[in-house]
C-alpha cells in the first residue's frame, strides 16, 4: 500500500451541547478513493471540513504528507462542497478562470472545460446550469490546481440517475490520473463503484473501515432471500429466521441458505418469486448503523 497522504489523529469536534466528532483516527493512502459513509448527523461533513482545513477541530490533528495543514495543503487540495454558490453574472469559463487565478500552478482553463465536458456550456451564465451541469462546473473548479487530493462532499446528492452516472464517469477518469479522492456520500452504489476503501461513521465514531469487499466479508457474510410481501404468509413471521420488512418485499438474511430454504418449504411459503442475492454495501451499512430514522 502507498504511504499515507492524509493522517487524521484523535479528531474531536464539539459544539455547545453536542459532540459531532468523537475521537476519529484514520489515514488515507495516496492514490486511493476513500469513502466516508454514515447516516445524517454521523459527523462525516464535520470530519471532512476539518480535513479540508476550513473548520478548526476542538482536539486532534490532520496531517498532509506528514505536516500539519498549511499553505502547501491549500495549494494541493481541491474541494467540492455539498452546496457551493458561485459569483453571480459569470460564465462557466469565467468562473473556472476566477478560481484558476487563486493558485500558483494548475491546469489550463480549456483543459478543465474539456475534462469536465463543459465545452458547449463555456459561455453560459453559471446560474443557468442544470444540477448535473452545475456539479460538473464545481468539479472543474475543484480541479483547477490539478490537486493531489480531491474532496468530494456528497457530490451527486439531488442529481438525476443520468447526471449521477455521468459524474461517476468523470470521477473515475480522475481516479485514473492517480489522484487521491476523499468522498462522502449517502449512495452506497456510488461508494461501492468508486471507493477503494471506506470508513463508516456513526454518532461521531468510525465503526468500520477497510476495502468494501473485505468489510462485507467481515461484517456481512450472509446472503439475502427476497420474497414479495403479499406472498409471505403472516404465520411464517413466527419462523425462527432473521426476517426484515422492506417496502414491497420481505428479506431474510442467513449464513445457511440450505437450512433456511428447508424451513420455508416446510412452512409452505410460496417460493415462485424467490430472489437470492449476496449482501451489498447498503445491507452492511444498515446492519452497522441500524434502521431507525435519524432526527
Amino acid at each position: 500500500m502507498s504511504a499515507a497522504i492524509l493522517e487524521v489523529e484523535n479528531l474531536v469536534k464539539q459544539y455547545p451541547g453536542t459532540t459531532a466528532v468523537a475521537g476519529v483516527s484514520f489515514s488515507v493512502p495516496e492514490g486511493v478513493c476513500f469513502g466516508l459513509l454514515g447516516p445524517n448527523g454521523a459527523g462525516k461533513t464535520t470530519t471532512i471540513e476539518i480535513m479540508e482545513g476550513i473548520l478548526p477541530p476542538t482536539a486532534g490533528e490532520v496531517r498532509y504528507r506528514g505536516e500539519p495543514l498549511g499553505a502547501r495543503f491549500r495549494e494541493d487540495a481541491g474541494i467540492l462542497f455539498q452546496r457551493t454558490a458561485l459569483q453571480d453574472f459569470l460564465t462557466v469559463r469565467q468562473s473556472i478562470a476566477l478560481f484558476r487565478g487563486l493558485y500558483a500552478h494548475g491546469l489550463e482553463v480549456d483543459e478543465l472545460v474539456r475534462l469536465c465536458a463543459l465545452e458547449k456550456l463555456a459561455r453560459r451564465d453559471a446560474r443557468k446550469l442544470s444540477g448535473g451541469q452545475q456539479q460538473r462546473l464545481l468539479l472543474a473548479i475543484a480541479l483547477v490546481n490539478d490537486p493531489a487530493v480531491l474532496f468530494l462532499d456528497e457530490p451527486t446528492t439531488g442529481l438525476d440517475p443520468q447526471a449521477r452516472r455521468n459524474f461517476w464517469e468523470l470521477v473515475q477518469s480522475i481516479k485514473a490520473r492517480r489522484k487521491t479522492i476523499i468522498l462522502t456520500t449517502h449512495y452506497m452504489e456510488e461508494a461501492e463503484l468508486l471507493c477503494d476503501e471506506i470508513a463508516i461513521m456513526d454518532r461521531g465514531h468510525i465503526i468500520a473501515q477497510g476495502p468494501p469487499r473485505r468489510l462485507l466479508h467481515e461484517h456481512f457474510a450472509e446472503v439475502l432471500l427476497e420474497l414479495p410481501r403479499q406472498e409471505f404468509p403472516p404465520a411464517a413471521r413466527e419462523l425462527p429466521l432473521n426476517i426484515i420488512d422492506a417496502s414491497d418485499r420481505v428479506e431474510i438474511s442467513t449464513h445457511d441458505l440450505e437450512a433456511t430454504l428447508r424451513t420455508l418449504l416446510e412452512a409452505r411459503v410460496p417460493l415462485g418469486h424467490l430472489r437470492i442475492r449476496p449482501g451489498n454495501l447498503e445491507d452492511l451499512f444498515l446492519e452497522l448503523t441500524g434502521k431507525e430514522l435519524r432526527p
Binding site: F81, T84, Q87, L102
Partner: protein, 335 residues
C-alpha cells in the same frame, strides 16, 4: 378564501415577530431619528440674520448690539475664515469686539444692508470695512453633498451587502478553501469598489457640473485625493460592518444606523453652522463630513492641499483603522 388569506397573514406575522433584527430596527430607527432630529434642530429659534463675532466680548453690556433680537451671533476665531464666509454671504456681517471696534459688511448682500442699519443704530461709532462677493448658489453648495451622498451609499451598501451575500451563499466558504487570504479578498473588494466609485463620481462631476454650470474655485486635481481617501474610509467602514454578521436584518440595520446620521449631520443638505457644539463634534466623527468639508473647501473656496490635509489625514487614518478591524474580525463562513 378568507381562511387561506388569514393563514398566510398569520404565518407572515409570526415570521416578522420572530425576526428580532427586523423588529428591533423597524421600531428603533424611527425613534432614534426623531430623538436625533429633536436634539439637532431643537432649542431656541434661529435668528433672521447671522453676524460673525471676532474675539470675545469682555463686557457684553458694552455692546448693546449683542442684545438685538432675531440676530444669531456666531463666534469665528479666524479672521480669514470669517471674511471668506462674509464674501460668500454665509454670514451677513462680521463684527470685531476688540477695540478699535469695527465691522465688515458685504455690500452685495441685501441682508448685510439691513443688519448694518441695526448695528449702527446700536453702536454708531463702529468703523466700516466693506467687502464684496456674490452668494454661493445653493446648487453649487449642494453639488459636493450629492456626490458625497452617492459615494456613501455605494461604499457602505455596495460593499456591505455584497460581502454578506457571499457569506450567506457559501461563496466565501468556497474561497476560504483556496490559498486566498482574508486580506487579499478584502483588498480586492476595496479596490474594485474604489475604481467603480471614482469612475462614477468623475462622470457625475463632469455631467452635473456641465448641467448646472459649476466651475471649481480650486484645482480639480485636488478632488482626486479627497475622493480616494473618502471612498476608502467608507468602503472600509462597510467591510467592518459586513465582516462578521450573517443576517441581512442586522447588517441592513447597522448600515441604516450609520447612513442616516451621516445624511443628516454631515452637511449634505444644509450647513450645521450654528448648531450645538456637541452636534458638530459628532458630525466630525463621520468620514462623510470630512469628505464634504474638504471638497467644498476646494470647490467653493479654492483651498489648497495644506488646507485640506487634516481632512485627508483623518480619512486615511479611519480607512486604515476600519480595514484593520475588518480583517481582524472577518469570518469566511456562517458560525
Amino acid at each position: 378564501m378568507m381562511r387561506r388569506l388569514l393563514s398566510v397573514l398569520h404565518a407572515r406575522n409570526l415570521e416578522f415577530l420572530r425576526d428580532r433584527g427586523t423588529l428591533v430596527f423597524t421600531l428603533l430607527l424611527p425613534v432614534m431619528l426623531v430623538i436625533g432630529m429633536g436634539f439637532v434642530f431643537g432649542g431656541p429659534e434661529r435668528g433672521l440674520f447671522k453676524v460673525g463675532l471676532l474675539g470675545d466680548a469682555s463686557d457684553p453690556l458694552a455692546h448693546p448690539f449683542l442684545s438685538e433680537r432675531y440676530v444669531e451671533f456666531i463666534g469665528l476665531p479666524q479672521q480669514g475664515e470669517a471674511l471668506r464666509k462674509l464674501t460668500h454671504q454665509q454670514i451677513d456681517l462680521l463684527l470685531e469686539l476688540r477695540p478699535p471696534e469695527r465691522y465688515w459688511v458685504n455690500t452685495d448682500s441685501p441682508k448685510g444692508y439691513i443688519v448694518e442699519k441695526l448695528l449702527l443704530a446700536a453702536e454708531p461709532a463702529a468703523s466700516r470695512e466693506p467687502v464684496t462677493g456674490a452668494a454661493v448658489r445653493y446648487v453649487d453648495w449642494l453639488f459636493p453633498g450629492i456626490l458625497g451622498m452617492n459615494m456613501m451609499f455605494s461604499c457602505l451598501f455596495g460593499v456591505g451587502y455584497v460581502v454578506l451575500r457571499y457569506r450567506k451563499s457559501g461563496f466565501l466558504k468556497r474561497l476560504h478553501a483556496t490559498p486566498l487570504s482574508a486580506f487579499e479578498f478584502l483588498s480586492a473588494q476595496v479596490l474594485s469598489r474604489l475604481t467603480l466609485i471614482l469612475f462614477i463620481t468623475g462622470v457625475l462631476y463632469a455631467g452635473i457640473g456641465a448641467v448646472i454650470g459649476f466651475h471649481s474655485a480650486g484645482s480639480v486635481l485636488l478632488l482626486a485625493p479627497v475622493a480616494v481617501a473618502g471612498a476608502l474610509s467608507m468602503i472600509a467602514l462597510g467591510l467592518t460592518i459586513a465582516a462578521r454578521f450573517s443576517s441581512e436584518e442586522v447588517v441592513g440595520g447597522l448600515l441604516n444606523v450609520l447612513t442616516w446620521p451621516m445624511m443628516l449631520l454631515s452637511g449634505i443638505w444644509f450647513s450645521l453652522e450654528g448648531s450645538p457644539r456637541w452636534v458638530q463634534w459628532v458630525a466630525h466623527l463621520f468620514p462623510l463630513t470630512h469628505v464634504l468639508d474638504s471638497a467644498r473647501a476646494v470647490m467653493l473656496d479654492g483651498a489648497g492641499l495644506a488646507q485640506i490635509a487634516p481632512h485627508l489625514l483623518y480619512l486615511t487614518a479611519t480607512a486604515l483603522a476600519f480595514l484593520a478591524f475588518g480583517a481582524w474580525s472577518f469570518r469566511w463562513r456562517i458560525d
